[in-house]
């Protein structure tokens, strides 16, 4: 699952950070950044409702491949700037975090055929 797949699956828009060819290794759905930092997975897709610079900075610390903000929350300009600076794709989705989790689960299940 790459950035294009994420955008399509979640009816989202890539708003900052640019495209990349990285694929999802681990999915983390969380709004508490310390919980995100606890995760040891690689190539994290971060699903969050936190529309702040810190979501992007946290994503960078754990080497996340993409951040998705839900419920079509307005994204602060600084958040987009930080995403551009750190080169982390930032996607805005109108879905709820729960709906995103379900769709991504289904996609990955289909992808791996299991």
């Amino acid at each position: 699952m790459n950035i294009n797949d994420i955008v399509k699956t979640l009816d989202g828009t890539l708003v900052a950070g640019g495209d990349s060819d990285r694929t999802v290794g681990t999915v983390v759905a969380n709004d508490l950044m310390s919980d995100v930092l606890l995760n040891d997975g690689d190539d994290i897709l971060l699903l969050t409702s936190l529309a702040s610079d810190q979501a992007i900075r946290t994503a960078n610390i754990v080497g996340a491949m993409c951040v998705v903000v839900h419920n079509a929350k307005p994204l602060p300009q600084t958040m987009c700037q930080v995403a551009d600076t750190l080169g982390i794709p930032l996607v805005s989705s109108p879905l709820s975090k729960y709906e995103s989790c379900v769709r991504i689960h289904d996609f990955l299940k289909a992808e791996t055929g299991s």
Partner: protein, 348 residues
Amino acid sequence: MEYKPTILSGGESRNDDQIMAAHERKHVRRVSGPGLPGSDGQGEPLVIMELLQRLRVKDVMRDHDIISVVRTDTMHFAQNLMKRNHISGVPVVEGKRLFGIVSINDIIMALEGGWIGDPCQKHMATNLVVLEEDMPLAFALKYFENYIFGRFPVLNKERDLVGIVSQRDVTRVLMRELTNELARLEGGAPTLGAAGEQPKSEGALPYYSMRQFVVVRNDLQNAGKAANEIKKMLGEAGVEKKIIRRVAVAAYELEINICIHSLGGSITFILDGHKATVVAKDKGPGIKDVEWALRDGTSTANDWIRSMGFGAGMGLSNSKRVADFFDIKSTVPTGTTVLCEFNLPEKK
């Protein structure tokens, strides 16, 4: 509050209350944060600011072999003394009491005016700007900035002359103390050589660097910048990705902690061939129960902090989890210092 120098007039002793009051006024100003001369102290590295407050004038002054004259010595004698010792002024002292100073300017005027044979007491300066031995070094630097004098006499509480301090003395001691401070932060590792040579050893990563970041209270907009910068430095140094992540997680958690729980502080990062070290130091209010704070899920964070995605009570325990060595010291209300060390494997 107006900054008032200590001035002795005509060798008379001052009222002790006045001296203490002046000193206290300066201390009030000190707390508001004077830094290096010509600055408001906000932009200086904390290590230097702390050093300038911790060191006292008596730590840098020259307190032995003070070259001096007595009141009855001639200006010509003072001139020769200054010439022989390559100094631009000489105090007029009897016993421990300071009566005045003869400067190179006084000598020039004596030569021009034809009174070079007169006793010093007739032409010495008696309106003296002096330092007190217990003043923070920051004030000595302010004196050097505010006055044209190259050296100042130093008095003790009894108003006895106990030393002389010149700009050269200040530089010498500051360099020594900064080197010691660097060695301490580095945890005993070898410091940079005089020529800036990088310490290297067999199999070690060939780099050394140190950076300090100021963390401002409640400035969540900028919190995390230090950790991201540290991550970048580690990446550029070619450190293994998994280790970079652990160091970055600790730095980030500690940086956020300083931002949301303390009055502000700093993150210091040191990287050498064998070890990466993160030191988080804040200015208070300190942690009453460190053991409690180290438990997962315990937090004093308020709703605002939680709404920003923090305050889950994982910061300290998370830092401890990822570090090879973790230490925390906290005093109420002085502040908290957290040390995280990470071993760097030798490059194959």
